[in-house]
């Protein structure tokens, strides 16, 4: 049973690991290979600050809220383990700020200690009249992706630095199942007009006195168009750019100015912060995550693709729930091929 995972961002690596952990002992013939044209630290995931936080509304996608919860609970369970530091996983508290009251988010009971801000806390943020405080998690991909890579390598999974041109290319090599985790460029393997880049830019600074995340919201302009400050284990990430349909991965001087000025207005002390790095990336935006199976006929054979892409700006937040769902789809394929037995029905 040959499996090829295309894509080595947080989605590709976690899906690969989940599938291998769940099925390799049941299917010893399982041979997994990972193909990607970019590896850490050059993936989209690496540029993200790593804060676990879904969008403000799930637009009725309850499935996504469930996957977010599964991811949070899974990560929370790992906090106390010795691996946490190596994974880049830690707890962090912080603020979400608004200029008007808003409904509570669907994730209010997933995070820890969710509550509204008190008037005195709002004094910290002139211009904002409403907000939330909660404790969430950080998962820094610059550590998490190497950690996943190490686990996969230990399991004998092989990595290839290669841009895959088509699913057919994989099937021609004898791959039975392709796991498509190609993120924003999934359209190059199979056109998907619903998938668009949500361009973001961030400035990484040294500001170790910042211990909270601060995310402001401009309800009218949309997610990530308003300044945010997210402290990591080494650097603090300043951001607030979301440009739908913009494929440009070059840093923009105008966006730099927007981020810098708006973040310094939010936290005047940032003016003292030393700028260390600037980065742009393309969030793989889609109205909903594409997580589904597709059977593709390849000559006489039926080959399978499991799609797992389109996680927008919440890939880290949702990754493990999606990895588990993709693994379940994989399990179904194994059952159909009679490589594993279906779950026993209880009499």
């Amino acid at each position: 049973m040959r499996v090829a995972v295309i894509g080595a961002g947080v989605i590709g690596l976690s899906t690969a690991l989940r599938i291998h952990e769940q099925y390799h002992s049941l299917v010893p013939s399982l041979e997994m290979k990972i193909y990607a044209d970019r590896y850490t630290p050059h993936t989209t995931s690496d540029g993200a600050a790593g804060l676990w936080q879904p969008y403000l509304s799930d637009h009725g996608n309850l499935q996504e809220t469930l996957w977010n919860k599964e991811t949070f609970d899974y990560l929370l369970g790992h906090l106390g383990s010795p691996a946490a530091k190596e994974m880049g996983l830690f707890l962090i508290s912080g603020y979400n700020l608004f200029t008007q009251p808003v409904p509570d988010p669907p994730w209010k009971n997933i995070v820890l200690g969710f509550r509204k801000l008190t008037p005195k806390e709002l004094e910290l943020f002139p211009g904002y009249s409403y907000g939330w405080f909660n404790t969430a998690l950080m998962l820094e991909c610059r550590r998490y992706l190497p950690w996943l890579t190490k686990r996969l390598t230990q399991r004998g999974v092989k990595f290839f630095h290669k841009k895959v041109g088509s699913f057919q290319e994989m099937f021609a090599q004898g791959v039975d199942v392709v796991i498509n985790c190609t993120g924003v460029r999934a359209g190059e393997l199979q056109p998907d007009p619903e998938l668009q880049p949500g361009r973001g830019q961030v400035i990484k600074v040294l500001a170790p006195w910042v211990k909270h995340f601060i995310i402001t919201h401009d309800i009218k302009s949309g997610i990530y168009t308003s300044p945010y400050v997210i402290p990591g284990s080494e650097f603090t990430v300043l951001g607030g750019i979301y440009q739908h349909g913009n494929w440009n991965e070059e840093n923009s001087a105008q966006d730099h100015k927007t981020i810098w000025e708006s973040c310094c207005r939010l936290l005047p002390a940032l003016q003292e912060a030393k700028i260390v790095e600037e980065w742009s990336g393309l969030r793989p935006a889609r109205p909903c995550v594409r997580l589904e199976r597709e059977s593709i006929h390849h000559g006489h054979f039926q080959a399978e693709v499991i799609h797992n892409y389109g996680h927008g700006g919440f890939g880290i937040t949702i990754h493990w729930g999606c990895a588990m769902a993709a693994a379940r789809l994989f399990g179904t394929i194994l059952q159909e091929k009679k490589l594993i037995s279906p779950p026993q029905t209880r009499l």
Binding site: L91, G113, R115, L117, T118, P208, E234, P268, A269
Partner: protein, 341 residues
């Protein structure tokens, strides 16, 4: 009296902040700081500088609350200014957890800190041995930065600072009109205060920049306080122990206790061990006296004995001490005008 000369003995957080308050309330005063130690070698430099009050059994609660509130308000304003990082002031959120529910679920300071509330069951799961907890956001004064920032402001106000071991406050009566005693634990010897005793605290200052929240055991013995560059792990409370030498078995014990709260601390790097003697007393000695010897009078204002809570009340007590200095000046001016009659 044109320019009253005031000597402040002690250059920890109490001495420096008291001197600063005196320059604010009495701009005509000439203030000089005399201390055996300056930052980074004061007791204050060892402390984490967390604004979480310690209770003084001998001081009325409303007074302690007033001191804390004044201090919190003062630091809150610095926190919101661009000077915050230089001053070492930052906000930090976290949890205080108790193995057994405390008698007082709402401490007197709960409405001064930000967002104080009882922890939820889900949050308590992170602390399986603890049954009750409080979550809140407070301020932290990192030292040395805060002391250095105070020194900078003092110098800008024309305050002189000298390294000098004052053995007896009387030494100062020829050069100064008023003496302010902020000698901390040094007051035991300096003014012979038998009611003042050390409570030895050993701490570890480690590099663990992923720790963003504080954790404190309600018994006050185990705590994890993330500062700007280092996390302070503590601690001990050893009454009447005068030793400033780090103890290695204590180091291991502190580290183990903190790791049981926060396992990721196993990965902490560059562990530095420090010891400080909390200048402890039933109540802060905040009063003025007039010393007399052979016809000479020396007004003395005491501001020492803050124990485990110096940072939490420093500004409030400094303001009160400055007010007492004002009373001393008024008394001196009154008596000098009497002398003219």
């Amino acid at each position: 009296m044109a320019a009253p000369k005031v000597a402040v003995v002690g250059a920890g957080v109490i001495g420096l902040s008291t001197a600063l308050c005196i320059t604010e309330t009495c701009p005509s005063c000439s203030v000089t700081i005399l201390s055996e130690q300056f930052s980074p070698n004061t007791t204050s430099d060892v402390a984490a500088g967390m604004l979480i009050p310690h209770t003084y059994p001998g001081t009325p609660t409303h007074v302690q609350k007033q001191w804390f509130k004044e201090t919190f308000t003062y630091l809150f304003a610095i926190n919101n200014s661009p000077e915050a990082p230089e001053a070492g002031i930052h906000l930090v959120s976290g949890w205080q957890v108790f193995k057994n529910t405390p008698k007082e679920e709402l401490p007197f300071w709960s409405d001064v800190v930000l967002g104080f509330r009882t922890m939820s069951e889900a949050e308590l799961q992170k602390f399986p041995q603890h049954r009750f907890g409080q979550a809140f956001t407070t301020l932290k004064c990192d030292c040395p930065p805060y002391l250095l920032w105070l020194e900078k402001r003092l110098k800008a106000s024309g305050v002189q600072m000298y390294t000098r071991k004052v053995a007896d406050l009387w030494e100062l009566h020829r050069e100064y009109h008023i003496v302010v005693n902020c000698a901390g634990i040094g007051a035991h010897q300096l003014v012979g205060d038998e009611k003042l005793f050390p409570v030895r605290g050993q701490v570890l200052k480690v590099h663990a920049p992923w720790v963003k929240n504080f954790i404190r055991d309600g018994d006050g013995l185990t705590y994890i306080y993330p500062g700007i560059h280092r996390v302070t792990l503590g601690g001990t409370r050893e009454k009447e122990n005068w030793s400033l030498t780090p103890d290695s078995s204590t180091t291991k014990d502190i580290f183990d206790r903190c790791c049981s709260f926060e396992p990721s601390l196993q990965g902490a790097q560059d562990i530095k061990v420090k010891v400080g003697l909390r200048p402890s007393r039933q109540c802060v000695r905040l009063q003025r006296e007039v010393w007399s010897q052979g016809g000479v009078k020396l007004p003395v204002v005491h501001n020492y004995g803050h124990g485990a809570g110096g940072f939490s009340v420093h500004r409030g007590t400094a303001k009160e001490a400055a007010r007492l200095v004002g009373e001393c000046i008024a008394a001196l001016q009154g008596s000098s005008s009497k002398a003219k009659l």
